[in-house]
């Protein structure tokens, strides 16, 4: 395993993805200490300054330091994505395990519900959910979780179906293992890797949802910095102060790019089909 990891990291794209994601995570975790200025501190007399020594990404329409805001936004956006995806796993795992392991009517009912949720384009569903709960951080997290959960539940179910009838599981069952023990000791460890890969890739979709909601004004409320709402509130400056849009835009692109590279790498790491490749 460790050898394989080392080998993968030698592939530049994958190492790059991992590094990029690490940079974002560090920025998010250490944001309060990394920002050169208070991201909410306004200096109206210094509004709309182009990038300079003092403000290396310039200042926004209210004279706030853009670099500080992009970094502060990383904390918000990443937190929402991470918590949202974890919540999705918490919702989807029992559903998927139950549906896959018990089967029959339970399976049909659970999967009908998740299919119904899947028929909505995820952004539409997210907008509906946020409208229901009211705009704000908590609603966006819930929206991310609920839009990610159905697909995840389906994936877990199919992995369980593949795994639950493998010979060693049958063997364990024959030895008298109960369903709880079967799931915990034999099924979960075998599917965990692939679930992790999938949730990683889901992170980039979740980020798009979060920033889209922010852009639509349904996400984190101003003055809190968030990439989506930074884009939304400054888009009239596209012609006059393009750096206002470039910074959060690049931040979103970089994160998704990095996460996709990393997700691919992880898939290769966990994919059993690749297990025997040189």
């Amino acid at each position: 395993m460790r050898r394989r990891l080392r080998r993968l990291l030698r592939v530049p794209a994958m190492a790059g993805g991992a590094a990029l994601v690490a940079v974002y995570l560090t920025a998010g975790l250490l944001a309060p200490w990394l920002v050169p200025y208070d991201p909410d501190e306004q200096d109206l007399m210094a509004a709309l300054q182009p990038p300079s020594r003092a403000h290396w990404l310039g200042t926004d329409d209210l004279g706030r330091d853009l670099a500080s805001r992009v970094i502060a936004a990383a904390r918000v956006d990443l937190a929402v994505v991470v918590v949202g995806i974890l919540l999705a796993v918490v919702i989807a795992a029992p559903v998927g395990l139950l549906a896959g392991f018990v089967g029959g009517r339970t399976d049909r009912v659970l999967m009908t519900v998740s299919d119904a949720a899947l028929t909505f384009p995820s952004l539409v569903l997210a907008v509906v959910l946020v409208s229901l709960f009211g705009a704000g951080l908590r609603s966006v997290i819930v929206a991310v979780a609920l839009t990610a959960a159905p697909a995840l539940a389906r994936l877990i179910r199919s992995l369980v179906l593949q795994t639950a009838h493998l010979e060693y599981v049958d063997a364990a069952r024959a030895l008298g293992a109960g369903p709880g023990r079967l799931i915990a000791r034999h099924v979960v460890p075998n599917i965990a890797g692939r679930v992790i890969v999938y949730t990683t890739l889901m992170g980039s979709y979740a980020m798009l949802t979060v920033t889209a909601l922010g852009f639509l004004g349904l996400g984190v409320q101003p003055p809190a910095a968030e990439w989506g709402n930074m884009l939304a509130t400054t888009r009239t400056y596209l012609a006059t102060a393009p750096w206002l849009l470039a910074a959060p835009g690049a931040a979103i692109i970089g994160f998704i790019f990095g996460l996709n590279l990393l997700g691919d790498a992880l898939r290769d790491l966990f994919d059993p089909k690749l297990l025997w490749r040189p």
Partner: protein, 530 residues
């Protein structure tokens, strides 16, 4: 060779012909608006009129008895001349002859009276009550002959002509109103230069030329009013020539448009004044020192410079310097120390986190603002939030969709869900008295929504009394004095954090002439021509 040349000429001529021949008459005039036209009835029915789009459409469909020109002077329209009696109570209007409504109904004294009575009666007109109520009560509207009418008011009513020139003063076809009932709002009939053709709610309104217009044949075969909510899109449409006129241009885009060879930018100081309204039902805001402290805490200069690029003016009265009845009444200079002192006197002391506290309660409030409805609404709200932070008040912003915004204001006092709200009122008849009455006259009852826009629930008997007197005064100087007194009292009572008066910023293609922009925010296209 010659044949080939001839063919080339014919092909080129065929291709270019539509531009050469059709440009004059058949191209519609397209106006991209920030909000959609929803209803076009002068009497507010159950379908609300969205401001300013609805009135801009109504100014094309209807004629008023009296109208504003672009200097806000009153000029004849369907009334050709008028006189007022010595006691200031009876106004006599001579009406224009040979005018017909789009549906063929003739315009005459009966039609004018039908319109006036429909506007005056609160049963048939629920909107703009402060404008029409003074014509009600014991007032009468009567016919003298087929083309002369007389309006008598219970008490002298100074701004009567302003009311007639207001968007709700458009004269409606009595036949169409009777036939369509509530449906009239979506199929309006007037005498104006352009007649209603079709409405795609939320998307666009199409008007067609009224060939029989009494004022001469209008220039365009059609006028299209299109809803384009995003300012960047409006600007792109104008730059690419897909639309001819756009409104509500963000100040930061003005320079860019001014540099464009085919575009004119029109800016006018507007009558709309902005402020953050206090919810006076909240205990912390019942102390006038707190409200004044908030006023001292805001540095208006940088807000106007940074956010509005100087396309706004700080106000020194609740009403705009360009409104009828304006006198300057005071200023709240930026003075954080004074703000802190006033808050201290009111019992608010900073806690360990810098947030003010009184009786163990932290000073935390909510700021309500729409997004994209008022100019720079969310930016101004963030700036204001920051000014409050400096004096130790923690404010959270609650931003709402433009369409939902009004419902947060028009509710009984116990159902208000905000502590302060960004609001701008535009006295669309040009009269400061209307402005002050709409915002500061006591509401008749606390069980229903505010009568007009007094959603702060401000109430001062002295103000009510002076407003009544001002309404009944025809003499301009005396009226100005009374309104000045009202403005002074309200200014010092500070039910608002007073901010600025905006500039209206409209842009058009150079080839479109005679686009009028009124200080009351309306863009009037009735005289526009190529």
């Amino acid at each position: 060779m010659k044949t080939r040349l001839a063919i080339a000429v014919i092909v080129a001529a065929t291709l270019l012909w539509p531009y050469a021949a059709g440009a004059q008459t058949d191209r519609p005039l397209v106006y991209a608006q920030n909000v959609p036209v929803t209803a076009m009835d002068t009497a507010g029915t159950t379908i609300g009129t969205v401001y300013p789009a609805g009135y801009e459409a109504m100014f094309l469909i209807y004629d008023n008895l009296v109208a504003f020109n672009d200097k806000m002077e009153l000029v004849p329209q369907l009334a050709t001349e008028w006189t007022v009696s010595q006691d200031g109570r009876t106004w006599t209007f001579r009406l224009r002859r040979n005018v017909t409504f789009h549906d063929g109904t003739p315009f005459n004294a009966d039609a004018a009276i039908f319109h006036l009575q429909r506007q005056i009666d609160p049963q048939t007109n629920r909107a703009n009550r402060p404008l029409w109520d003074p014509l009600g009560g014991a007032g009468t509207v009567r016919k003298i002959d087929d083309f002369t009418i007389a309006i008598t008011t219970e008490k002298p009513y100074g701004p009567l002509l302003n009311t007639l020139a207001h968007g709700s003063g458009g004269v409606v076809s009595p036949t169409a109103v009777r036939r369509l009932g509530e449906g009239f709002a979506r199929a309006p009939v007037g005498t104006g230069p352009y007649a209603f053709e079709r409405l795609e709610t939320g998307t666009e309104l199409v008007l067609r030329r009224n060939d029989a217009y009494w004022g001469g044949r209008p220039a365009y075969s059609r006028v299209v009013m299109r809803h384009v909510p995003d300012p960047t899109t409006r600007i792109a449409l104008l730059q690419s020539g897909q639309v001819d006129v756009i409104n509500l241009i963000p100040p930061e885009n003005v320079a860019q448009l001014q540099g464009h060879p085919n575009i004119d930018v029109i800016t006018r100081p507007a009558l709309r004044t902005f402020g953050f309204a206090f919810n006076l039902n909240r205990r912390q805001f019942q102390d006038v020192r707190v409200r004044q402290a908030f006023n001292y805490a805001v540095n208006r200069g940088p807000v106007i410079k940074a956010i509005f690029k100087d396309f706004a003016t700080p106000i020194d009265s609740p009403i705009s310097p360009n409104a009828v009845g304006y006198v300057p009444v005071g200023t709240y200079p930026y003075d954080v120390d004074r703000a802190r002192t006033l808050l201290g006197e009111a019992g608010w002391r900073p806690g360990p986190d810098g947030v003010l506290r009184k009786d163990g309660q932290a000073f935390e409030i909510t700021l309500l603002t729409p997004i994209g409805l008022l100019p720079k609404d969310i930016e101004v709200t963030q700036a204001f939030q920051n000014f409050l932070r400096v004096i130790g008040v923690r404010a959270t912003i609650n931003r709402v969709e433009p369409a939902a915004f009004w419902d947060f204001l028009r509710v009984p006092p116990d159902r208000l869900q905000w502590d302060m709200v960004l609001f701008g009122f535009n006295p669309s008849n040009g009269d400061g008295g209307y402005h002050l009455t709409s915002l500061f006259e006591s509401n008749p009852t606390r069980t229903g929504p505010p009568k007009v826009w007094n959603f702060t629930w401000y109430s001062n008997p002295r103000v009510d009394q002076l407003l009544g007197q001002a309404d009944a005064t025809v003499d301009a100087a005396r009226r100005r004095q009374l309104l000045g007194e009202v403005a002074r009292i309200v200014w010092n009572d500070a039910p608002y954090v007073w901010l600025y008066a905006e500039n209206v910023i409209v842009a058009k293609r150079k080839e479109v002439k005679n686009v009028e922009v009124l200080p009351v925010i309306f863009t009037i296209l009735r005289n526009a021509r190529p």
